[in-house]
C-alpha cells in the first residue's frame, strides 16, 4: 500500500509542494479535496521536497488535503470505442457516454526515429481550392493556420474536417469558447463525421493546466491509430492558448522567462508536439493542422515565430480568406506534379495575375489612371476572390482547376496569361478558345 501524505507546505498558483520520499519524477498523485479527487503530477524534486502541478488548479485545496501517489504517469485510453466521443482536456467524458478506462497508454512518448520516416508523397484533398490548388496539404505535414481573434478559423477547421479524405479525425480544443465547442460538436454531428472523430476539448472556463494535456492526448491516440494503419488528421485550436498555459506554469515555477514571459523551452515544447506528425513506413500517418492566433497580428510574436520555424509552411487566414501571399505549403512540390498536368501551371498563373491585380488596385486607390489591362486584372481579382478564395467554396481539385481555366478564359486572351501553348491547346475552354483560326463571319 502506498503512503498517504497530508501536509502541504506550499500552495502557489497551480503548484503545491509537499515532503515525500520514494516518489518518481512525473508520477501522478491524487489529492482529496472537499470538491472531490484532483489529479496532480510531480514536476520537480529537491531532496524530500516534491512539487506537484495540480491539473484542476489549487482552488479549495487545504494544507491538510490527502495526497496519494499513484505510481503511474499521465495516461489516456486508446480503443476503437473512442470514435464518436467527446472528452475534456483530461480525458473525462463531455458527452453522456461512459468514462474510458481500458487499454491505457502514456500520453508522452519517445520521438520517432528519423531513419524510420519516409518522404511524404500523398496529397490530402480538402475540397478547398485555396489549399488543394495553391498550397496542397500533404499527408504527415504539420501546418499552422496563422490568424487573429475574430477570424473564422474554427469554421475553416470544421470545413477541412468535413471534406478531408482521411480515415480519422481528432480535434483538440484548447481554451475554446464554449460556443465554439458547441459549434464543432454540432457541425461534426450534422455533417455525419462525428462517427469517425474523437474530440478532446478544453474550454476557456476549465482549469488552464488541463490545456497542456490536450495536444499530447490527441497525438498519442493519433499515433496508436496511425501505427494501426489509419490516416489520421489532427486539428488543434488554438496553440497560442497552449503556449500561454505553458507560460503560466513556468512563471509559477519561478523559471526565468526568455521572451515576453514565455519559457526558454517554448520552441522545444512546441516542436515535440508538432514533430509527432509522421508518415510511418508501412503503416498510417498523422497530419497536423493547428490554429495559432497571432496576438496583435504580429508574426514575430514568440508563439507564431517559433511555430514557423517548426512547421512545414503556414496558412494565413485574413479577412475570412486564406491569403495566397505568405501562405505556403513546403511539401506541395512533392505531390502537385502528379495530380493533373495543369495543376502547377494554374497555381502559378493565377497567383501571378492576382499579384498584378493587387498592384493595379493599389494604383487605383492612389488615383492613377487605369489602363485596359488594369481594369481586366481588377475584374479578374473580383472573380478570383468570390469564386475561389471564398471559404464557402467547396470543390474537388479537378473541378476547381476547371473553374480556374473558366475564369481565365472569360477574362483573358491565352497569350496574356503566359501559359505554354501545349497546355492552352489541352485545357483552354473550347467555346472561348481564341487559338487558331477565328470562325468565318
Amino acid at each position: 500500500m502506498r503512503k498517504v501524505y497530508n501536509k502541504i507546505n506550499q500552495i502557489a498558483g497551480s503548484v503545491i509542494t509537499i515532503q515525500a520520499s520514494g516518489v518518481a519524477y512525473n508520477e501522478l498523485a491524487e489529492i482529496t479535496t472537499d470538491a472531490g479527487p484532483a489529479l496532480a503530477q510531480v514536476i520537480s524534486m529537491r531532496g524530500d521536497n516534491v512539487s506537484l502541478l495540480v491539473f484542476a488548479g489549487t482552488r479549495g485545496i487545504s494544507t491538510a488535503s490527502e495526497i496519494r501517489f499513484l505510481g503511474k504517469q499521465l495516461e489516456t485510453s486508446y480503443t476503437p470505442a473512442l470514435l464518436g466521443r467527446v472528452f475534456d482536456g483530461s480525458g473525462r467524458p463531455r458527452d453522456k457516454g461512459p468514462a474510458m478506462q481500458e487499454n491505457m497508454i502514456p500520453i508522452k512518448g519517445p520521438a520517432v526515429n528519423p531513419a524510420k520516416r519516409i518522404i511524404p508523397k500523398n496529397m490530402i484533398r480538402t475540397g478547398i481550392p485555396m489549399i488543394d490548388i495553391f498550397n496542397t496539404l500533404v499527408e504527415s505535414q504539420k501546418l499552422p493556420i496563422f490568424s487573429i481573434p475574430g477570424e473564422p478559423y474554427n469554421e475553416l477547421l470544421a470545413r477541412i474536417a468535413m471534406h478531408a479524405e482521411v480515415d480519422l479525425l481528432i480535434l483538440g480544443g484548447m481554451g475554446l469558447k464554449y460556443d465554439d465547442y458547441l459549434f464543432f460538436r454540432d457541425t461534426f454531428e450534422k455533417e455525419g463525421i462525428l462517427s469517425r472523430s474523437i474530440l478532446y476539448v478544453h474550454t476557456a472556463a476549465d482549469p488552464s493546466v488541463e490545456c497542456i494535456q490536450v495536444p499530447d492526448t490527441c497525438l498519442s491516440v493519433a499515433e496508436k491509430f496511425a501505427l494501426d494503419g489509419k490516416r489520421v488528421l489532427v486539428l488543434l485550436t488554438d496553440m497560442t492558448n497552449y503556449a500561454d498555459s505553458l507560460k503560466e506554469i513556468a512563471i509559477t515555477m519561478e523559471q526565468i522567462p526568455s521572451n515576453r514571459g514565455y519559457p526558454g523551452d517554448l520552441y522545444s515544447s512546441l516542436a515535440a508536439r508538432y514533430e509527432r506528425a509522421v508518415d510511418f513506413e508501412g503503416a498510417g500517418s498523422i497530419t497536423v493542422l493547428a490554429v495559432t492566433t497571432m496576438p496583435g497580428d504580429d508574426v514575430t510574436h514568440p508563439v507564431p515565430d517559433n511555430t514557423g520555424y517548426i512547421t512545414e509552411g503556414q496558412f494565413y487566414l485574413r479577412n475570412g480568406r486564406i491569403e495566397p501571399f505568405g501562405s505556403l505549403s513546403r511539401l506541395k512540390q512533392q505531390v502537385n506534379g502528379e495530380t493533373r498536368g495543369d495543376h502547377r501551371q494554374i497555381m502559378n498563373t493565377m497567383i501571378q495575375l492576382y499579384a498584378s491585380a493587387r498592384d493595379s488596385m493599389e494604383k487605383q486607390s492612389m488615383g492613377f489612371r487605369m489602363s485596359d489591362w488594369d481594369l481586366k486584372l481588377i475584374k479578374y481579382s473580383d472573380r478570383f476572390e468570390s469564386e475561389m478564395m471564398d471559404l464557402s467554396v467547396a470543390l474537388p481539385l479537378e473541378e476547381a482547376l476547371d473553374l480556374g481555366w473558366k475564369i481565365l478564359s472569360d477574362i483573358f486572351e491565352p497569350s496574356e496569361t503566359g501559359i505554354p501553348t501545349r497546355l492552352i491547346e489541352q485545357f483552354w475552354p473550347r467555346e472561348t478558345a481564341k487559338v487558331g483560326a477565328a470562325p468565318a463571319e
Binding site: G22, A24, N113, A271, E275, E312, G313
Partner: protein
C-alpha cells in the same frame, strides 16, 4: 563504457537536470548513467558544488526517484573515431539511427545505445611504419581504404610525448577492435586498435601549425562564390527568418561544395528535412567522384523532438568527426543547422541551473561558447606536410527574423563571412535570398576585387534609386539614375539569383562563374544611352531573359555558345 567509476545518489530532479550526491572524486563533463530499472540513462556532469553535482540527462527523466543510483564512468563525453564513420547517420550521441531502427523499431526509446562503428566489419589494414620507428600522437600507423579515401589509422591523439613502435600487424583484414599495433611509451606499452575515443568538447590539436585560410571553397552558388566567398578552413553563418530558404541553401552547399568530406549536423530542426537528405543523398551522384554523395557524407541528426541535452552534444560530436577526417589531410565542411537551437539548449540548461541570465535569458557565457565552437574550424599543416581543413557553416534562426538578437550577434563576431537571408527577397522569390547589401565576407573571391567593388557600388546605387522611384515613379526618375537601377537589377536577376530546381543553373562551376561574370561586368561598365525609360527597360528585360537562358545552357555546349554570341550582339547593337 568502463565500469571503473564510482557511484552517486540522486537528490533532486528538475526536468532533464539531476542533482547527484557523490562520494569519491568526479570531474567536470564526466559521463554518468542514471539507473532506472533495467535502463541506464546517459547524463553529463555540468556543475559541481560541494558534494553534489548537477548533471544534464540526455534522455527523458520520467520515473527517476530521489535516492536512485548514478554510476559514473570516469570518462568525458566522447565519440568513437575509426573507419566506417562515413555514410552513417548518427544521433547527437553518435548512436547509429538506422541500426537503432533495425533493433528497436519506429521509436527512439530511452536508454538504448549502440556503438557507432560496426564491430563485425573487417577493414584491409596496411602498415606504413616499421617496428622501431618513433611516432607521435596523430602520426599514421597504417592505411585502410574507406570508400573514396585512404583512411589513416593514427597514433591515439591522447598520447603524450614520443613512442616507439613495438609491434605492428601484417597486411590483412581486421575488425576495428582488434589490436593492430603496440607502442612503447613512457607510461608502458599501449595497445592500438583501429578505433580510438576522443572527448567531444576538446579540440584535436595534433598538427604542426594552423594557417591562414586563403584557398576558396567553391560552393557553385554564384552569389556566394562571387560576392561572399568562403575559404577552406574558414567560418560562415547564415541567419534568416523562417521560410527564407536557409535549409535549401545548406542542402545545396552540402551537395556542391568542393570538399572531400561533408558533415551535416541537423541540430534541433525538422525531421522531415533530414529525411530528405537521408533518402535522397544515396541516389545523388557526386560530380567530383562519380560516386554517391552519401560516400562523402556523415549526418548527425538530433531533430527538434529528440532530447534537448543531446542537441547540445550533437554540434560537438559533429565537429569532432570533422576534425578527425581533417587529420587525414582532407578538407571537411561542417554544416550546422541550426546553431540557434543549440544555443536554446544552453539556455534551457542555464535556466535549470538557476544561473543569472544574460540578454533574452541566454547564459552570460553564450558568446564564448559560440566563439570556441567556430574556432575549431581552421586549415592546418599536419606533421607529414599534408594540409587538412575544417570549414564551419552554421545557420542561425533569429527570433522574429531580427538580427539584433544575442545568438546572431555573438556569431557575427567570430565568423569570416555573413550570408544574411532576407524575408523581403524570399517574398519576392529572389533566391538564394541572401541580401547582397547587408552580407559580407572577409575571404578572397574568385573575381578580382576591382570588378567586385564596381558591382557592389552599382548594387548600392541601384537600391537607392529604387527607393526613390517608390515616391517619384519611373517617369520622374532621371534617365541616368534609371540606368543605374536597371543595371543593378540586371546583375541581381541574371547573376545573383539562381534556380535551385534547374539542373544546370543549380550549380555553376568556378570557371563558368568567371566567364559569365566577365560578360555581366562588361554590361555594368558599358555606358548605355537610351532616350526613353520604356526603351531602356525593354532592353534590360530581354537581356535578363537571354542571360537566364544562358545560365540554363550546359557549360560550353553549342547552345551556351549561341546564346553568348547573341548576348554580345545585343550589347553591341545598343552601344553603336
Amino acid at each position: 563504457m568502463s565500469q571503473k567509476g564510482s557511484y552517486g545518489t540522486i537528490v533532486g530532479v528538475n526536468g532533464n537536470m539531476l542533482t547527484v550526491e557523490f562520494g569519491e572524486s568526479i570531474s567536470q563533463n564526466e559521463v554518468g548513467y542514471a539507473i532506472l530499472g533495467d535502463k541506464r540513462l546517459m547524463a553529463e556532469v555540468i556543475r559541481v558544488r560541494g558534494t553534489v553535482a548537477d548533471m544534464q540527462v540526455f534522455e527523458d527523466t520520467q520515473g527517476l526517484t530521489v535516492g536512485g543510483q548514478v554510476e559514473f564512468t570516469d570518462e568525458m563525453l566522447s565519440v568513437e573515431l575509426g573507419p566506417g564513420l562515413l555514410t552513417q547517420v548518427f544521433d547527437g550521441l553518435q548512436n547509429p539511427l538506422p541500426r537503432l531502427a533495425e533493433q528497436f523499431g519506429f521509436f527512439l526509446e530511452r536508454g538504448n545505445y549502440i556503438s557507432a562503428l560496426p564491430r563485425d566489419l573487417t577493414w584491409d589494414f596496411a602498415a606504413v611504419v616499421n617496428v622501431g620507428d618513433t611516432v607521435m600522437a596523430g602520426d599514421t600507423l597504417g592505411i585502410v581504404p574507406e570508400g573514396l579515401f585512404q583512411h589513416r589509422i593514427m597514433v591515439p591523439f591522447s598520447l603524450r610525448g614520443v613512442a616507439k613502435v613495438k609491434s605492428i600487424v601484417s597486411e590483412g583484414g581486421y575488425t576495428v577492435e582488434q589490436e593492430v599495433a603496440v607502442l612503447e611509451t613512457e607510461a608502458g606499452d599501449l595497445s592500438v586498435s583501429m578505433v580510438q575515443t576522443w572527448p567531444v568538447k576538446v579540440p584535436i590539436r595534433c598538427f604542426e601549425e594552423r594557417m591562414k585560410p586563403t584557398e576558396q571553397m567553391i560552393t557553385k552558388q554564384r552569389i556566394l562564390d562571387t560576392l561572399f566567398p568562403v575559404a577552406k578552413g574558414g567560418t560562415f553563418c547564415v541567419p534568416g527568418p523562417f521560410g527564407a530558404g536557409k535549409t535549401v541553401l545548406q542542402q545545396l552547399t552540402s551537395r556542391h561544395a568542393d570538399v572531400d568530406v561533408v558533415v551535416v549536423a541537423a541540430c534541433g530542426e525538422r525531421a522531415g528535412e533530414v529525411v530528405e537528405t537521408l533518402r535522397e543523398f544515396p541516389h545523388l551522384t557526386d560530380p567530383r567522384t562519380g560516386k554517391s554523395l552519401m560516400e562523402r557524407t556523415i549526418i548527425i541528426c538530433n531533430t527538434s523532438s529528440m532530447p534537448v541535452a543531446a542537441r547540445e552534444a550533437s554540434v560537438y560530436t559533429a565537429v569532432t568527426l570533422a576534425e578527425y577526417y581533417r587529420q587525414m589531410g582532407l578538407s571537411v565542411l561542417l554544416l550546422a543547422d541550426s546553431t540557434s537551437r543549440w544555443a536554446q539548449a544552453l539556455r534551457e540548461m542555464s535556466g535549470r541551473l538557476e544561473e543569472i541570465p544574460g540578454e533574452e535569458a541566454f547564459p552570460a557565457y553564450l558568446e564564448s561558447v559560440i566563439a570556441s565552437f567556430y574556432e575549431r574550424a581552421g586549415i592546418v599543416r599536419l606533421r607529414d606536410g599534408s594540409i587538412g581543413s575544417v570549414t564551419i557553416g552554421g545557420t542561425v534562426s533569429p527570433a522574429g527574423g531580427d538580427f539584433e538578437e544575442p545568438v546572431t550577434q555573438a556569431t557575427l563576431k567570430v565568423v569570416g563571412a555573413f550570408h544574411g537571408l532576407s524575408r523581403e527577397r524570399s517574398d519576392a522569390r529572389r533566391y538564394p535570398a541572401i541580401h547582397p547589401l547587408d552580407s559580407w565576407s572577409k575571404y578572397p573571391s574568385l573575381i578580382e576585387s576591382e570588378t567586385l567593388d564596381l558591382a557592389r557600388q552599382i548594387l548600392r546605387q541601384g537600391h537607392d534609386v529604387e527607393e526613390m522611384m517608390k515616391v517619384v515613379e519611373e517617369e520622374g526618375t532621371a534617365i541616368e539614375d534609371f540606368m543605374m537601377y536597371l543595371k543593378a537589377d540586371y546583375l541581381d536577376a541574371s547573376y545573383l539569383q539562381q534556380d535551385a530546381f534547374n539542373d544546370v543553373d543549380a550549380a555553376t562551376s568556378g570557371e563558368r562563374q568567371k566567364h559569365v561574370f566577365d560578360f555581366v561586368a562588361k554590361v555594368l561598365r558599358t555606358e548605355l544611352k537610351f532616350q526613353e525609360h520604356a526603351e531602356a527597360r525593354q532592353f534590360f528585360l530581354s537581356l535578363t531573359q537571354t542571360t537566364r537562358d544562358w545560365n540554363r545552357a550546359e557549360w560550353e555546349s553549342d547552345e551556351f555558345k549561341d546564346v553568348e554570341k547573341k548576348l554580345h550582339q545585343m550589347l553591341a547593337e545598343v552601344t553603336k
